[in-house]
Symmetry: C2
Subunit: 370 residues, 2 copies
């Protein structure tokens, strides 16, 4: 099955509308995927996710492999059944978590050895086992095992890890048994334009269902993120979906969509929600601030989420200050709704070929503070 | 408005069906009231509470007075609007929390001085201010300020605190301005049958909308709880609802209903849920136990709650072990549903005059472990 179809394109920039086809339904792009690390998007139920507008969520191979283990999830009917989520799931390969979470990472040709961040036990992941795990989970979109390149990196590291990522991608492709599940490759290349282009070209040569840009949002300046996208995006033909991993702020999403990116995931809306940082159409607010003590308004008067339709800033502040866990759910619902609705607005704008106007409005709203 | 009407009575014991009338609707009794200490029943939304079968919830005057303060709640439209709960609310008076939580308690004729458990600041509560706070919150059923008697207590303490509770109740009655809100008195008397009867008789003389038994579940042996109920219950005429505060286990509820008690509140279902202890028709289970690792069954096959309809024990265990906060919500929903459904079963049994059969079944189910 073909994974992707472009359905509309902006006449003034690279922004485009499209559809990803999976056995569990169609995903309208550009799309933001809430992160469900441990078989749950923290603090919200599957029904709430759907009501927030989520079309597809992300699961983490590294976490699910370590706990509860893919065998248990498979026995219980796969990740969707296990967590009660019926729509598509994309799983990352674990490459990034081994880079960012594991307390040891030893990269060899065969695969990567690492120490679990949970109990210090030693594990290894290979391109083949990464696919086996993701097939056991029943992921609709699987990702190849990659090597995340640190920032900054030497040219040697960039070259070696990028080349290894390509060799691993080839092995992932060969290891795939369940052809109905899509497999995406991850373009590495560090912050080096030539290696980025080479990585993309080699992976395109191998032939995947979609292409992701990995190794971004690892501490580099914001300009580099957009520069890498500007470099790589034109290399990938329009028949493939392009996914920028781990991005980003609302502004990042708008800028990336303008450059033709189709898919995103990020912990920002959910993690910030739990820290009381809320996104609104006019900017961010910190709900614990004393100015909200008697504020009877919703987080964002323009928002139609469950939280904004039912609760005041004063109530949310009270829950936050009182350490009541209901607040995590209510703020997560709001932030997810904000991100998912932002993507919905962008999809509509692209369809109506008014993305430039949308962008102008987006930035001008953020200058008018409530 | 008359607060209560008895509608049916068991032919074999003191169990009875009834209705409490409030401006926010009718409450079918016997009833269990989930505890919403800080303007939220921990981990669940108002909609979930309603779906679990909650008819009325409890708020804590002590906590809401300290944070965010009754003035703020009043400005924001009262406790119901503040927390998004449309059905009746009963608020305790703070007497028990000052006894159990405050780091200092100084009882004088005028009122009680105490140190906040939050920041050590010094406050005082009088019978008059307890009513003023509850009227500001807009509580449908207010409780008189009482003095909770420790267990064990000397006869001197029992006598003094019981007499003071009666004098305070009289002042509460005089302080009440909002006649549409019910006011219940709290019967004290420690574990002394004579003082219990005297407390009840004096409070009945003053005339309240309902009567609660306070100062129970303070560490006394279980038999004493039932003995005190057996002593006091017959003293209160059937035209008044009788409320046993802070009780209890499922077994306690069945035994108290059999003795003619109409109302209950307890943190047990919600607190135990957060600790992973779940109530089922055949007894209790501890969800973190390794035996549930691969268990695809719901918590209780006989249960129709949201959690049991959608999630396995293995998934709940995974969330619990992984410290995912969704588990607190899912287990709280189950435990609340269990308690509220138990009361529903008792109401039906009383109506059909088969309470004895219900009791037998209740105990026999608990002997057949799954």
């Amino acid at each position: 099955m073909k994974a992707f179809q472009e359905t509309a394109r902006s006449s003034t920039c690279a922004a485009r509308r499209g559809r990803i086809f999976t056995d569990r339904g169609t995903v309208e792009t550009p799309v933001f995927m809430p992160v469900g690390t441990q078989a749950t998007v923290k603090a919200v139920s599957p029904e709430e996710l759907e009501k927030c507008g989520a079309q597809i969520i992300l699961g983490n191979t590294y976490h699910l492999y370590l706990r509860p283990g893919q065998r248990i999830i498979q026995e219980l009917g796969g990740l969707h059944t296990f967590m009660g989520w019926k729509k598509p799931v994309l799983t990352d390969s674990g490459g990034f978590q081994i880079y960012s979470l594991a307390t040891m990472r030893k990269i060899e040709e065969h695969g990567v050895r690492f120490r679990s961040h949970i109990d210090g036990s030693i594990h290894s992941l290979t391109p083949e086992s990464a696919i086996e795990i993701q097939e056991a989970l029943g992921s609709d979109i699987m990702m190849c095992l990659d090597v995340c390149i640190p920032y900054p990196a030497t040219l040697r590291e960039t070259a070696d890890f990028t080349a290894l990522t390509t060799r691993w991608a080839e092995r992932c492709l060969a290891a795939r048994k369940r052809k109905e599940l899509h497999l995406f490759a991850i373009i590495q290349g560090g912050m080096d334009p030539e290696w980025r282009i080479r990585s993309a070209s080699e992976l395109l040569e191998l032939g995947f269902d979609g292409y992701a840009l990995g190794g971004l949002s690892v501490g580099e300046p914001k300009e580099l993120l957009l520069e890498m996208i500007d470099t790589v995006r034109p290399v990938v033909p329009s028949e493939y979906p392009v996914y920028v991993m781990g991005v980003g702020t609302p502004e990042d999403l708008v800028e990336c969509v303008a450059r033709g990116v189709d898919m995103f995931d990020c912990v920002l809306p959910t993690r910030n929600a739990r820290n009381g940082m809320l996104f609104t159409s006019s900017g961010r607010i910190v709900i614990k601030n004393a100015c909200f003590r008697r504020d009877s308004r919703p987080i964002d008067a323009a928002c139609r989420c469950y939280t904004c339709r039912n609760f005041s800033r004063a109530y949310l502040r009270h829950l936050y200050i009182s350490k009541e866990i209901l607040v995590h759910r209510l703020t997560t619902i709001h932030n997810l709704y904000y991100f998912l609705n932002l993507l919905q607005e962008m999809r509509s704008a692209i369809e109506a070929d008014r993305f430039e106007e949308f962008k102008k409005e987006f930035y001008s709203r953020r200058e008018n503070k409530t």
